[in-house]
C-alpha cells in the first residue's frame, strides 16, 4: 500500500469524520449545557463576550478530548493524519505530538472556562486567590507542554507555529493600535482585559486554522 494510492476517492473518511464529529459534538454540547443548567447558569443572561469565551473554552476542551481519544489508537490516528481510511498507523512520534496537542487544547479550554464559570457561580472572598493559584499552575503546565511540542516538532510544525505567531502579532498589534486610537478620540468605549483576551484568542485560533489548512493533507 502506498500513500499515493491511499487517498480516499469515495469520501469514506470524510463521511466517517462527519458522523463522528457531529455525534461527539452533540454529546459534549448536551453534557455541557446540562451541567450549566444544573448550576443555574443562564446563557441568555450572559454578556456576548462571555458566551464567546464559553464557546471557545468548550470547543478547545472538546477538541482536546477528541485528540486524546484518537491518539489512543495508532490506526485511527494514522487515518486522521492522512485523512484516508487506508493510511498506515501513526508513528510513536506522531502519537506523542498528537497527545501533547490534545493536552494543550484541553488545558486551554479548562483555563478559559475556570474564571468564567467561577464568576458566573458568584465565587468570591477567600476562594478566589486559591482559584487563581490553580489557574497559574494550569497555565505553567500548559506552557511546559507547549515547549515539549516545540522541542519534538519537526520543521514544518515549527514553521506553522512561527507563522501563526507572526500573523497574530501583526493583526493584533494593528487592532490594538486602532482600538487605542479610537478610544483616545472618544469613539470607542473602554473594554475589559477579559474582552481583549477573548478577542485575541479568537483571532489566534482563526490564524492557526487558516495556516494549518494551507498545508493539510490532500
Amino acid at each position: 500500500m502506498t500513500a499515493i494510492a491511499s487517498k480516499d476517492p469515495n469520501g469514506q473518511y470524510r463521511a466517517v469524520q462527519m458522523v463522528v464529529g457531529v455525534t461527539a459534538g452533540a454529546v459534549i454540547s448536551y453534557v455541557f449545557v446540562t451541567a450549566l443548567r444544573h448550576f443555574g447558569i443562564n446563557l441568555k443572561a450572559m454578556a456576548w463576550i462571555d458566551v464567546m469565551a464559553l464557546l471557545q473554552g468548550m470547543v478547545f476542551a472538546a477538541l482536546g478530548l477528541i485528540a486524546l481519544a484518537i491518539t489512543m489508537s495508532p490506526r485511527l490516528a494514522g487515518v486522521q493524519i492522512e485523512q484516508a481510511t487506508d493510511a498506515p498507523p501513526a508513528s510513536r512520534l506522531e502519537l506523542t505530538l498528537g497527545r501533547l496537542q490534545g493536552v494543550v487544547l484541553l488545558l486551554a479550554g479548562l483555563l478559559m472556562l475556570t474564571p468564567l464559570l467561577a464568576s458566573e457561580l458568584g465565587m468570591s472572598g477567600e476562594q478566589t486567590p486559591l482559584l487563581f493559584a490553580v489557574i497559574v499552575v494550569g497555565y505553567l503546565l500548559q506552557t511546559g507542554v507547549n515547549l515539549a511540542i516545540w522541542q519534538r516538532a519537526d520543521e514544518l510544525m515549527r514553521a506553522m507555529i512561527a507563522r501563526t505567531s507572526a500573523v497574530s502579532f501583526w493583526v493584533l498589534q494593528g487592532a490594538l493600535f486602532l482600538a487605542a486610537s479610537a478610544q483616545k478620540l472618544g469613539l470607542l468605549r473602554e473594554f475589559s482585559l477579559w474582552t481583549a483576551m477573548v478577542i485575541t484568542l479568537g483571532i489566534y485560533s482563526v490564524a492557526s486554522l487558516a495556516i494549518a489548512k494551507r498545508v493539510r493533507y490532500r
Binding site: T2, S91, E155, Y217
Partner: protein
C-alpha cells in the same frame, strides 16, 4: 519551489510514512513538500538529496526558472 519528491518516492515504492521515517520528519511535512505547499529548509533539502543520491538541483528547481 518545484520538486520531484513525489516521483522519486513512487519509484522507490515508499509510502509517505516510509520516507518521513527515513528523513526524520512527519508525513505531513513530506506531503506538504510533495504538494509544493512548503519549501524545506536547506538542511532537509540536502538530506532528501542524499537519500535519493542525486544533486540537490535535480530535485528542487526555483519557480522562476526559464522566465
Amino acid at each position: 519551489m518545484r520538486n520531484r519528491l513525489h516521483m522519486l518516492r513512487a519509484e522507490n515504492r515508499w509510502t509517505q510514512a516510509d520516507l518521513a521515517e527515513r528523513l526524520g520528519v512527519s508525513r505531513q511535512t513530506v506531503n506538504a513538500i510533495e504538494t509544493e505547499k512548503y519549501d524545506p529548509s536547506l538542511e532537509l533539502a540536502f538530506r532528501i538529496a542524499a537519500l535519493f543520491g542525486q544533486p540537490i538541483e535535480e530535485l528542487f528547481t526555483p519557480d522562476h526558472r526559464g522566465e
